[in-house]
């Protein structure tokens, strides 16, 4: 009688509580950041080589990069669940599954809504649905209220050499949420190398350089004629990692971008 009095509440508790202390491996920096934002950073036993935020990731085992995860290393970490991107080779996911490791492959995020979907999936997997919804609410609260009537035309260069984002990238959506309009937003692709002549033709009113090489950009032929350059709107101040990862930190950067785009001059 006494024993059941102890055991029954204990069982009930363990049923209603999240499956505590899972062993989790994240193979994308954005998933790692989401997991930390959900308060589950302590459950991470392995992260990708590129995971560098928050600082605690430095002390977590590295398990290869998202394109080529180190399958043996992941297996040796004995994870309960592995979060892999759609990028990750299907073969390594299959290998892990064949060895009895649970792999959750999240679809590539192409918009802010997709980022929320990833947060929901990860939160559900970690038994933290409520924290997931809370995180999404707080991220939505960061977004500017209404889109401006005439959005600023923006050219974003992720890497020098004209590497930019098309409409299939969440970066296009991020720019829109900041009150801008990606000049290549109509392109049905993710990332591509844009021809410089096309950039000149589309004449953006603001330029975002994620790699930050402003001098090199200004030295390009006819760069001085761009509306963005005339207006002095060459934005290099965004956090490259935060803005180029579909994770929670992107939303702070969107707010920052909005302020930069609509700053009083």
């Amino acid at each position: 009688m006494r024993i059941t009095a102890v055991i029954v509440p204990f069982l009930l508790c363990s049923l209603s509580l999240p499956a505590s202390a899972k062993r989790v491996v994240s193979l994308m920096p954005s998933y790692t950041e989401i997991i930390f934002a959900l308060g589950a950073g302590g459950e991470l036993v392995g992260v990708s080589n590129f995971c560098n935020w928050p600082a605690e990731t430095a002390g977590i085992e590295k398990a290869g990069d998202y394109l080529r995860p180190n399958v043996e290393k992941v297996y040796a970490l004995k994870p309960d669940v592995v979060f892999a991107g759609a990028w990750a080779g299907a073969s390594s996911s299959k290998q892990l599954s064949a060895m009895g490791v649970k792999v959750v492959r999240l679809p590539e995020e192409k918009s802010a809504a997709d980022i929320f979907a990833s947060i929901r999936l990860i939160a559900a997997e970690l038994g933290r649905k409520a924290q997931g919804e809370g995180l999404i609410r707080s991220l939505k609260a960061l977004l500017p209220a209404a889109a401006p009537a005439a959005p600023v035309k923006v050219y974003i260069e992720a890497d020098s050499g004209g590497w930019t984002a098309g409409g299939h990238s969440f970066l296009s959506d991020a720019i829109m949420l900041a009150g801008g309009k990606n000049i290549f937003g109509g392109e049905n692709r993710g990332y591509f190398q844009a021809s410089w002549e096309e950039v000149l033709l589309l004449d953006p009113q603001a330029v975002i350089l994620l790699s930050g090489a402003k001098e090199e950009f200004l030295a390009r032929p006819m760069a001085g004629g761009l509306a963005a350059v005339k207006a002095g709107r060459i934005i290099t101040g965004l956090d490259r990692d935060a803005f180029s990862r579909p994770g929670p930190r992107l939303f702070e950067e969107i707010k920052k971008l909005k302020n930069l785009l609509y700053a009083e001059k």
């Binding site: 992720a158 050499g161 190398q193 844009a194 410089w196 002549e197 096309e198 000149l200 006819m222």
Partner: protein, 311 residues
């Protein structure tokens, strides 16, 4: 070379230039043509001329129809040196950059040559094999460096892929001068190159010092290659294709072949670059990719022809 063929060659060059100046999403806007397409055309002409000349010099001095800066490892040596310079923060317009790139090109070429000679008689196949080995090793070094240098690896990869996205005028001026100088010097030594293309022994009997001439022409070809790589990264097959095409018009003498290969290379790369940046708008495909698409089948054809002993 008969006058009619010379005119034809210049017509081809003019056509490539016109294509390069006229092709692009902005149509025929004079501003765009003068400020954007003209510098880019000049860059493509310079890089193409450098690679074409280097190919003709290598094929002549090594008496080997399969030689070119890409296959011998010259380009890989230059690229590896350039990547190290970027990581060390050495500017592209600095003389140190050019010297380092030249040293990389020369070192890699000489290593290929030495390996092939150490393997026995200097056969065509041994030289190509040695070049492949040296190139593969240097490419691996570059890739390793790229994966270690996370922050800038994408920009560097861009350079390694080869292309003329945004050419700095300073680099264009230096590269152009180096390539022009290499062209003039090799033009003045065409007799020695012709003697070398008969083989070292005959060259010796014709009064040339084969060891010295080999070094001189390696030096000239490496200078032209490194100037081209400094501007356009690794672009293959221009140096392989143009001397073969030109030889049909000019005959084998270096007096006409070397300058013709420079002109042909200039026309070829200019056309390839214009196609790459206009046919896939709004994206652009690096000229190096277009050249590999056209050049690799050419190389296969050359190997096939060579195996039947007709080259």
């Amino acid at each position: 070379m008969p006058k009619s063929k010379l005119i034809l060659l210049f017509c081809v060059l003019a056509a490539a230039c016109l294509f390069s100046l006229a092709a692009g999403p902005a149509g025929l806007s004079p501003d765009i043509i003068i400020n954007l397409r003209l510098p880019r055309t000049l860059a493509a002409l310079t890089v193409g001329a450098g690679l074409g000349l280097a190919g003709a010099l290598f094929q002549g001095v090594l008496k080997n129809p399969l030689s070119d800066p890409y296959i011998l490892g010259t380009s890989s040596g230059a690229t590896a040196a350039a990547v190290f310079c970027f990581l060390a923060g050495i500017e592209r317009t600095s003389p140190v950059f050019f010297l380092a790139v030249f040293a990389g090109a020369f070192g890699a070429t000489f290593l290929s040559y030495w390996l092939a000679r150490a393997a026995g008689r200097l056969s065509d196949a041994a030289l190509v094999l040695a070049g492949v080995a040296v190139s593969a090793f240097l490419s691996a070094v570059v890739m390793l460096t790229l994966s270690a240098a996370r922050e800038r690896s994408f920009s560097l990869l861009n350079f390694v892929l080869g292309g003329l996205y945004a050419v700095e005028p300073g680099v264009l001026a230096i590269s152009g001068t180096v390539i022009l100088a290499a062209l003039v010097f090799s033009g003045a030594r065409w007799r020695a190159l012709d003697a070398m293309s008969l083989g070292a022994e005959k060259a010796y009997h014709l009064g040339a010092d084969p060891e010295r001439e080999r070094l001189v022409f390696f030096g000239l070809a490496c200078a032209a290659t490194s100037a081209a790589v400094a501007m356009g990264g690794t672009i293959g097959f221009v140096g392989l294709m143009t001397p073969h095409i030109m030889r049909r018009f000019t005959g084998p003498s270096a007096r006409v072949l070397a300058p013709a290969a420079a002109i042909g290379g200039a026309a070829l790369l200019t056309a390839a670059d214009a196609a790459g940046r206009s046919m896939f708008s709004p994206s652009e495909v690096p000229a190096g990719v277009i050249m590999a698409l056209a050049g690799a089948p050419f190389f296969m054809w050359l190997l096939w022809k060579n195996s039947r002993g007709r080259v």
